[in-house]
Amino acid sequence: MKGILGSIIVRQLPPEQMTGERPGLSSVKLGGDDISDPISFSSPIYLGKLPGTPSMHSQKELANHASSTNSMYVPTSNSPMEGCFALWTPTREGLDADMLRNCRGVEIWTTDIMYEGELPVVYPHVETSASLSAHIDLLREATEYKVPIVVRISGGNIYQQVHGAVEAGADGVVVSVHDTLLTSQPNGIMGIFPPASKAMHDSGGRKNGKLLMVEGEFLSGEDIFKALAMGADLVGVTTPALNALEEGKLTDFMTSMEKECLYIMGLSGHLSQETLSADDLLAGDYDTGTITGLKMAGYEKELPIWLH
């Protein structure tokens, strides 16, 4: 199956450079040393926030799956489900101090879209990094420094928003295709990675153990591999997971994704996702090379080729 990052090519190592060892996905820790209950994900794949309003039954099933596999599901609204984050939304709907005290983590939403008549009106919730820092301070105190706090950015300049969230003290930053782009075209999805990854590096987030969580319609283990190599620490699968759930094949789908990702890791000469980098990938066409900054397949050079 061709994934959403299909125009990116994975570089296979020559046999003489392979180690002969078996690769494995290592666990990923969300939350710094000042958090008493950080989350240790057994693999870098989780169930991301779905677009639209999926049924509560489906959401509960996804939450149960996440809970039983030591992963996470990001709900679309606050409800007492195991394995979920509490949502600090502009309306605080469904949230109270008890939920904050008992949740696994808190996710901050930075804007809210409401409808006045037919037209969407976006209300700012958190406008600056300083303001976001105050929200994080509040949630740290309300949760008594137990659980990680992540920020879901929304649209605008991805670099600035990710940078601001790390600066404000978030443990992780969620960049979702569904919340940041008005398109699901692969070119747009690829465009998330370079600014988000650079912002994690420039802000010191990468060095300080903050996580970049990228969510989208990832279809295959190959997509997961590419997202990890492009800088994501955790990859959230959205609609394809819901489709698999509706067909009664969620566990198979998630397992096959992990297996495929491991298979590609093995062929590209990596023993865990921690050593993946953009050097493992090549751009399969000019658009991909321009957007991602990856080296062009066939040229082994970044665009514009005449500068190298």
Binding site: A97, M114, E116, D137, L138
Partner: protein, 222 residues
């Protein structure tokens, strides 16, 4: 130089004291964010100084008094108890209030009572723009003036303003408060020792639903 404590230290001591005492006093607050938040106990807490953002937020049943000014979002998402703010407050006081009472003895900046679901906000002074924006329920009483866009997008609740309303927001309408409503305002103000001329109060409430989609459908039928 005196040691400067972080919010975490102050709240930690506060929690310890609340576990053993019924009344706690805290001094020396200088712009600290998130002081006295998510207090579970039914206790009395008095704080002196200048509070930063989210003072008293997520309070459930405590009676909290701040002697001094507070910055933005004081009393955010409270579900019960009382928050008495004896000084001016920044933006978004009592935002998303789900219960209890927030009383400001001074002026409040913009977005006071935004997204309120229940409970009472009293401002004994002037309120800034967008008072009660997207309010869903509860009561706001302002003894002074209110700025522009009052009640923008409100879907429920009521706002009573004693002096000028700078302008109504889309989705809000204004009328004179009824005799019964004025009596109820008087009772609430008396409780906190606030004096105001009840005869002057006007009421801002959600306008008749004017859904563009409904209008289009009706026009289509005609």
């Amino acid at each position: 130089m005196p040691k400067v404590y972080a919010s975490r230290d102050i709240n930690s001591v506060l929690r310890q004291q609340l576990a053993s005492n019924k009344a706690v006093k805290v001094g020396g607050i200088r712009g600290h964010h998130a002081i006295c938040v998510a207090v579970e106990k039914n206790a009395k807490v008095t704080v002196e100084g200048s509070a930063g953002d989210f003072f008293g937020a997520l309070n459930r049943q405590a009676s909290i008094i701040l002697v001094g000014r507070a910055n933005n979002y004081a009393g955010d998402s409270m579900t019960g108890g009382e928050l008495l703010l004896e000084g001016e407050v920044g933006a978004g006081v009592a935002a998303c209030l789900g219960g209890g009472a927030v009383v400001v003895k001074g002026s409040a900046a913009e977005d006071a009572g935004a997204g309120m679901r229940d409970g009472t906000l009293i401002v004994d002074g002037n309120a800034g723009d967008c008072l009660g924006r997207r309010m869903l329920g509860g009561t706001i009483i302002v003894t002074g003036k209110a700025g522009k866009d009052v009640g923008r997008g409100m879907r429920g609740g009521e706002i009573y303003v004693a002096s000028d309303v700078g302008g109504l927001g889309r989705g809000a309408s204004i009328s004179e408060a009824s005799h019964e409503e004025k009596k109820r305002i008087g009772v609430l103000l008396d409780k906190y020792g606030i004096k105001a001329k009840l005869a002057l109060f006007e009421k801002v409430s959600p306008a008749e639903i004017e859904d563009d989609m409904i209008r289009i459908v009706v026009e289509g039928v005609e």
